[in-house]
Symmetry: C2
């Protein structure tokens, strides 16, 4: 189904056929849960942005009560009965959006009800214990203090996955939580191709490239001016302040309670202009996806983001494909020159080079550039899959981590704090999360290329600060279709004409960095 059809698809909330009443009852229950989810979203945002410190315990109690109420609704036997009746009827009489509503609700039902309370409780406890253990272990660079948590997560995730779907590998079932419709076989295919292209490109850049001059972005930049500039850019990109807010928090994020109540946050450091700027544009990309959700299906799972990877594609499309492009530097350079007295003569080419320098040594994922980032992800993906498959054991992890860092990224961590302990994810049992970052980057490259084809003036528009054409294109092709498609590949097929094709991403990087580094 083409995206243009998605947008103009006539809305009907009832099937023509037999199960009209059941479908309506299902929607009522789903909408109530969605509203409860929105309230929890607001509690979370408030906690990060507004809540006084002394209220931490009361907020924990509020979240726990909400989680209990949500669990009761999610496991309500009436909901199960409705889904049984609707699923047994196949797709007869339901349009594609309605079919997606039933499919997604069924999926959530299975993932919630198959897990006994004992396991759900232990997972929640291990999240807290794991975070504590990880913090200590990283602080002391002592992997042994984190290893028991990791052992227990591996065993818990295997147990959980077998309960949800014993016919599939534990990793595939875990992955499904973050990237619907994706399999490790498919990721292997994609990541192998990416690794084969990126490792030599990186080698070339490092050995033969002429690095751009980054000195212009070094120094001290007033944070108030950074905030004013970034807020005005977020609005120019299309963030709607009538349906959202912009605030400051320690860790930038996009949250809120509803597509009409999207709350993004930013953070600014006076010694790092790039981080604040690209961070704000990254969150704007997430926020535009949220504000673009299809209100014709308000409160139904079909209007939710398809996956973490697709969500990340929207932040990375704006952060990388747009904001790290030369046309955007043409728009941005005079703005920076106006905002900061030390940049009076900033030129677009100079800014473009400085924003796109590849790090000489890329040891830490969260500080990586777009060339080295996927190699960090591939390393983590391989290891977490091998842990679940049993081909790598927990005690061997630090050694293998360091070996692959050397092989893929050309640098070796000096200790485990800088190596295997650098990320928080595994401490919370988030196995299957890492790949979505790079899938997002690849979706973004492919989506951007399709938009370029459909909107021939795109680069000129960006240079002129005109972003509404791109935003509308994304609204129609990506945002409005929500979870209509069962996988990222299907969404790519509908929006760009082919499933995810990593060669688009590789081609983009190769072309860009060949020019930039004069390879």
């Amino acid at each position: 189904m083409a995206a243009a059809q998605v947008a103009s698809h006539p809305v009907s909330t009832a099937a023509d056929g037999g199960n009209k009443k059941e479908y309506e009852s299902l929607c009522e229950k789903l909408k109530e849960m969605s509203t409860l989810g929105g309230i929890s979203g607001l509690l979370g945002w408030d906690e990060m942005v507004m809540m006084p410190e002394g209220a931490a315990a009361c907020r924990a109690a509020q979240k726990s009560v909400m989680a209990g109420i949500m669990y009761d609704k999610q496991t309500d036997p009436e909901l199960g009965q409705l889904l049984d009746e609707l699923s047994s009827n196949g797709s007869v009489g339901f349009d594609p959006f309605q079919q997606a509503v039933i499919r997604e609700a069924q999926r959530d039902w299975v993932r919630t009800t198959k897990i006994p309370k004992r396991i759900a409780k232990r997972r929640a406890e291990l999240e807290s214990e794991g975070y504590q253990a990880w913090t200590t272990a990283r602080g002391e660079s002592n992997f042994a203090k984190f290893a028991p948590v990791l052992e227990e997560w591996v065993s818990l995730i295997k147990e959980t996955s077998a309960l949800i779907d014993p016919s599939r590998s534990p990793y595939d079932v875990a992955l499904e939580e973050f990237e619907k419709g994706m399999t490790s076989a498919r990721i292997d295919e994609i990541f192998t191709q990416v690794k084969e292209g990126l490792v030599p490109l990186l080698k070339q850049i490092r050995e033969k490239g002429t690095p751009p001059d980054t000195s212009v972005l070094q120094g001290t930049f007033d944070t108030k001016s950074q905030a004013d500039l970034c807020n005005s850019i977020a609005k120019e990109l299309g963030f709607d302040l009538d349906k959202g807010r912009l605030d400051v928090s320690v860790h930038p994020f996009t949250g809120g309670s509803h597509p009409t109540d999207v709350r993004m946050t930013t953070r600014f450091k006076d010694n790092d202009l790039t981080e604040g700027l690209t961070g704000a544009i990254h969150e704007t990309g997430h926020a535009l996806y949220e504000q673009g959700r299809n209100l014709d299906y308000d409160g139904l799972p079909v209007n939710q983001a398809l996956s973490m990877g697709v969500h990340e594609s929207q932040s990375l499309l704006w952060e990388r494909m747009v904001a790290l492009s030369l046309p955007f530097s043409k728009y941005l350079a005079p703005k920076l020159a106006g905002a900061f007295p030390q940049l009076p003569d900033l030129q677009a080419e100079q800014l473009y080079g400085a924003l796109n320098a590849v790090k000489k040594e890329s040891m830490i994922r969260v500080e990586a550039d777009e060339v080295t980032y996927p190699l960090h992800i591939i390393l983590r993906y391989e290891l977490e899959k091998e842990l679940l498959e049993g081909t790598v054991s927990v005690p061997d992890l630090p050694r293998i981590w360091n070996e692959r860092m050397t092989s893929y990224l050309g640098c070796t961590p000096k200790d485990d704090a800088q190596g295997v302990l650098q990320d928080v994810h595994w401490s919370a049992g988030l196995f299957g999360y890492f790949p979505t970052y790079s899938l997002g980057a690849m979706y973004a490259a492919q989506i951007y290329k399709a938009a370029q084809k459909d909107v021939p003036s795109l680069e000129a528009d960006i240079a002129a600060g005109q972003f509404s054409g791109l935003k509308s294109w994304l609204n129609e092709r990506i945002h409005k279709s929500g979870s209509l498609h069962p996988s990222g590949d299907d969404l790519m097929r509908a929006a760009t004409g082919s499933p995810l094709d990593p060669s688009v991403f590789l081609h983009y990087l190769t072309e860009k960095y060949t020019a930039l580094y004069q390879l």
Copy 2:
């Protein structure tokens, strides 16, 4: 029971006697409802202070879902059964705080479960319809457009009251919603005494008094400086920013989600320094009460505010007894002089006079000073009681309103917009609410007098900007006892040694204004 005992009372969550298990089950249910109430409180605060305008519909849906969940919990038959068992056992084995928990829970149970859904629904609808009708009627100064709403409210309130307690008068049952343990017979006694004292005092002030010079507070005052000053004063009075926030909203209020999460708001106008200043101190009084709630009984109704009147006593104690006193002017005058360049030589006596001028004409309640305010309240109290008793009919209301304005306050509204239509309360069915404003003022005078007796240095402390003695006294005597006492009179007896005595209030006003107006 003396307040000092209240504070040191040993906490036990279980009765020694037979119904220990039932009491614990009751507490668990009550705490969950309290937590849900806190979440609703946060939703309300956010709506007034943070929410983007476009999210209004989604917020309404969130509030409605929360109200539905709360209603289910409030009317849970298991809760009713527990209360039956606990109530039938009398107070055997329960300490006074536990007895108060059971008493308050029983009271809430009756007030919720006796009202059929039909009436609850109609009341909710009539609140919205009433607000619309009132807005139109006031805009056109056309009482006829509001009269049908008022007729329906009178009938609905009679019906509701009869369902809750047919043995008492409809007005007394309605009053109980806002002022627990209060009766109209007791208010008649109090208000008659107040009216007999105030009407001649006001006449004397107007006819024989020498008004203080108010020119010093006229002019334009930078709102940013006002906000900075008021926020610093709120902190000096004792507002704890670790357990609360200070923000700005269109209508100042104090809300939040818990005693550790108290959120007060203020508003500043550049042409009115007094309103911003006294408003901020008023809200600080409410906020200190909320932050002072007894966390030994967290989530239980005994730690809630006793009544609207007692809550108002805390805001008015700080706004009037403290901030409108001469010692406070001694503290405030140099601060104002520092904050506003047009007040370089401001003297305490000059400021005290300007802050305490009695309006020449007091037509509007919300703009009234402390001398005329009670007369506005007495007029409304008489009329709403007479409406429910049937001794005044809705069509006669505007005429009687104007006659009593002339008689009590010496001025006659030029139309109904300025007269009977000036307040929003009746449009929402809030019959029994008005008296709490003036009961609060009288509680405040009596409480302050008791504090003065216990803290001999009180006035010198205030002049020196030392407020912690008064705050601690209020924490122990008023805040911590929450809803332990069944009425405001009982609280007054425990905290000050005698039930509410309006002569303390009259004496305070007479003495203050005799000196100020040189009577």
